[in-house]
């Protein structure tokens, strides 16, 4: 184990020289810390924590105080040892975890049969995990997944504490294949910031229910840094004020993620691969704890399908067409800016001396990084709106694409007429990324590593793509280009107080929020029949002119005598 760590450390240090300050990003999971050196807060990544101690075990109603357990009152040399201690009592926990996509990073969509999950999907953030596991898998709930030889059945490889510890000191550092650091280390390299090795016995003794900070240690940092990916999930949710999230406000309802994502046997419900777009269960609130196949994390599972009071009955008539989120999350990224675009095609620019470059935008956010290319950021983003029925189709590594068009990494299916779709708010993330210009498929770049082929050490796409595709066991013609891509994310978190919901006229007006939503007639939007309008007004006007002339004629006739 130790030797593994040493390797990991030396990897990091070496990689660092070239790689410069930034740490970076992983494709999907988001270890993310450092990606932007600029963003001082980011390094918090897995550790976000320190600043935000978790609710506190002391106030817990639990019948067990883990600090009193003999199994945990010892010095742990490595994190897997902690897991072994956990499993002495929680005998089934690892088996349960190993069935989840948090562990397998794999999800077969039951409808489309597409093989998804972080292991397979190529996105337009950090692109792909394959060949970069050491880095990306800082957000895997396991230890040691650095290549295809990882043992998915070894129970001690399950990371219990990242989801259950409450000290806020435990942090999985990118580059260590999912391990925490066991001795103090500088991270990101050359940043001057020291990540302390956690006291594993304190961490083990602090375990309890999973808090916002636990989930957030990965999910807040998706896409390679705080707030990068989702726009509605970032570190501002660790302890959100009321305006940002009416359910999670600490002084208010103080929901944890699990209040909605009501987990059983470690299976967390709620999915972006196969979301519940329209929860039409009429029997209003789903009974908590009742065994059925319904998704407990929808708004409707608590609020029902007619949530508005009688005097707002008209709003209840909207619930079969409009997702709750459309009105109740009027803007996303209201806590901090989220990344909106990422152009890999400009990555690799160096100074005349061959040094990588970083640039900041007016707000002090990363605007360019030689390792990754150009970015833009935005806060308080007005979502785009689409019909969505829950079916998502992905452009996978082997999917043929048309490079003359914008490639949809994932496309949301839905229409006004299929009876299953609601109008949803989405974040659309746009970018450019490498593709095989001969076979017209997306490419897996090898980005992280101290070897000569990783993009971050030599800024050479040819070598990086060749190594990445080799690791992915996939053919590569050797010719690449950059293709425009788009990825959609449903907006569903950061529900605003009800007073901030959209008002009627924000959609029922010309150029309103839903101006691009087709297939439905909306009063006030100008969907009117142009001929009828033109004809109606014309005849009305002619009638008016007619009677006025008639009247004038009468007056004239009268005068004449």
């Amino acid at each position: 184990m130790l030797s593994k760590i040493k390797i990991a450390l030396s990897t990091l240090v070496a990689g660092a020289t070239v790689a410069a300050l930034t740490a970076f990003a992983t494709p999907a999971p988001a270890p993310a810390p450092a990606q932007m050196p600029a963003n001082a807060a980011a390094p918090a990544q897995a550790a976000m924590p320190a600043a935000t101690p978790v609710p506190a075990i002391k106030a817990s109603n639990s019948t067990a105080d883990h600090s009193k357990f003999k199994e945990l009152q010892k010095t742990f040399k490595s994190a897997p040892e902690v897991t072994k201690a956990c499993l002495t009592c929680h005998t089934e926990a690892a088996k349960q975890i190993q069935k989840t996509k948090h562990w397998t990073f794999e999800f077969i969509n039951p409808e489309t049969k597409q093989k998804l999950g972080k292991k397979h999907v190529i996105n337009n953030f950090c692109t792909a995990v394959e060949s970069n596991q050491k880095f990306c898998n800082a957000c895997h709930i396991g230890y040691g997944w650095e290549n295809d030889k990882f043992d998915f059945t070894a129970e001690q490889n399950v990371d219990c504490v990242v989801c259950h510890e409450s000290t806020g000191t435990y942090r999985k550092v990118p580059g260590l294949s999912g391990h925490p650091t066991y001795k103090d280390m500088e991270f990101p390299p050359h940043s001057g910031k020291i990540v302390k090795a956690p006291d594993l016995s304190k961490v083990a003794q602090s375990v309890g229910k999973t808090s916002r900070a636990n989930c957030g240690s990965c999910h807040f940092y998706g896409g390679g840094g705080d707030a990068v990916k989702h726009g509605d999930i970032d570190s501002s949710l660790t302890n959100p004020p009321r305006y940002l999230d009416v359910h999670m406000e600490k002084k208010g309802l103080n929901f944890s993620c699990g209040t909605c994502h009501m987990t059983s046997a470690h299976q967390v419900p709620g999915s972006r691969y196969a979301p519940t777009a329209a929860d039409t269960k009429d029997a209003a609130p789903h009974m908590r704890g009742k065994a059925d196949n319904s998704n407990p994390s929808t708004c409707q599972s608590c609020h029902g399908t007619k949530p508005h009071p009688a005097k707002m009955a008209k709003l209840n008539e909207h619930t079969d067409k409009i997702a709750c989120q459309t009105c109740h999350i009027p803007e996303y990224a209201r806590g901090q800016a989220t990344k909106m675009t990422w152009d890999w095609s400009t990555a690799g620019k160096l100074t005349p001396e061959g040094k990588p470059i970083t640039k900041k935008d007016s707000a002090g956010r990363n605007a360019y990084d030689s390792k990754k290319g150009d970015f833009t950021w935005e806060d308080h983003v007005i979502p785009e709106y689409v019909w969505f029925n829950g079916k998502v189709n992905y452009t996978l590594r082997e999917t043929k694409l048309d490079p003359s068009k914008v490639v949809k990494i994932n496309s949301f299916e839905g229409s006004a007429s299929d009876g299953k779709s609601l109008i949803w708010p989405i974040k659309v993330f746009r970018g450019q990324q490498p593709y095989d210009s001969v076979s017209n498929t997306l490419l897996v770049p090898h980005t992280f590593g101290d070897d000569d082929t990783s993009f971050w050490s030599n800024f050479n796409w040819d070598k990086s793509l060749e190594a990445g595709m080799k690791a992915a066991n996939a053919p590569y013609s050797g010719k690449y280009g950059f293709v425009k891509t788009e990825m959609s994310w449903p907006i569903t978190h950061m529900v605003a107080p009800k007073a901030d919901a959209l008002t009627c006229a924000q959609c029922h007006s010309h150029n309103g929020r839903l101006k691009n939503v087709t297939g439905i007639y909306m009063p006030g939007r100008g969907d009117n029949n142009k001929w009828l309008d033109m004809g109606g007004w014309t005849i009305a006007l002619l009638t008016l002119i007619g009677v006025l002339l008639h009247g004038a004629g009468r007056i004239y006739a009268n005068r004449k005598g």
Partner: protein, 200 residues
């Protein structure tokens, strides 16, 4: 030519007329705002006002229908083609040459033949058009429960409702003008206020 006065419009009738007139004008104003033609009250308020006015008008019509049948006044709207030609001639020419009005109102025949046709048209065509389409509009979310969602689309409902509104607007313009076409320019209007019409 002697001027005499006859009592043509009873109290309820006058109340019905004026309250209906103000409701219809108000519904035109709010309706075309909902339609998106201009901004006045704001969409949300326009919808709210329009809906309240619709229910009020429905209530008023229930009373009016009841009144017309109990009093037998509905007969006033039985269409007749007699003298229609004369009326048209009068409006087109006679009015400019001080020809006598071809129709003399009585308590039993208080509307001239063109009025009869026009009002019957309003009540049998424009009214039901607005009513039916408006009803579907109002109960949009019940279509599913009614089982009509496959046959009706909001686009068409709105189209018919808007068409009805245009007919009503055109009727209103013509009607407003023709109120001045009585024995004197104000005699029709006075009649609708006081009940007493001056006739020649």
């Amino acid at each position: 030519m002697s001027v005499e006065k006859i009592y043509v419009f009873k109290l309820f009738e006058r109340f019905w007329h004026w309250s209906q007139a103000s409701l219809i004008i108000f519904m035109l104003v709010t309706g075309f705002e909902v339609h998106g033609s201009y901004h006045l009250f704001g969409f949300a308020k326009a919808v709210g006002y329009h809906t309240i006015a619709a229910w009020t008008l429905i209530g008023l019509w229930i009373f009016a229908i009841f009144w017309h049948f109990t009093t037998g006044e509905w007969k006033q709207y039985i269409p007749t083609l007699e003298k229609v030609e004369a009326m048209i001639k009068y409006y087109a020419l006679g009015m400019f040459t001080h020809a006598p009005h071809p129709f003399r109102a009585t308590q039993l025949k208080k509307h001239n033949p063109l009025q009869r046709l026009a009002y019957l048209g309003v009540m049998l065509f424009i009214g039901p058009l607005l009513w039916f389409s408006g009803w579907f509009y109002l109960f949009y979310s019940e279509w599913n429960a009614w089982g009509v969602d496959k046959y009706v689309s909001l686009e068409w409902v709105a189209l018919f409702h808007t068409a009805g509104a245009f007919f009503m607007l055109i009727f209103l313009i013509a009607h407003l003008y023709l109120t001045t076409a009585g024995h004197t320019p104000t005699s029709h209007i006075k009649a609708m206020i006081t009940g007493w019409e001056e006739v020649e």
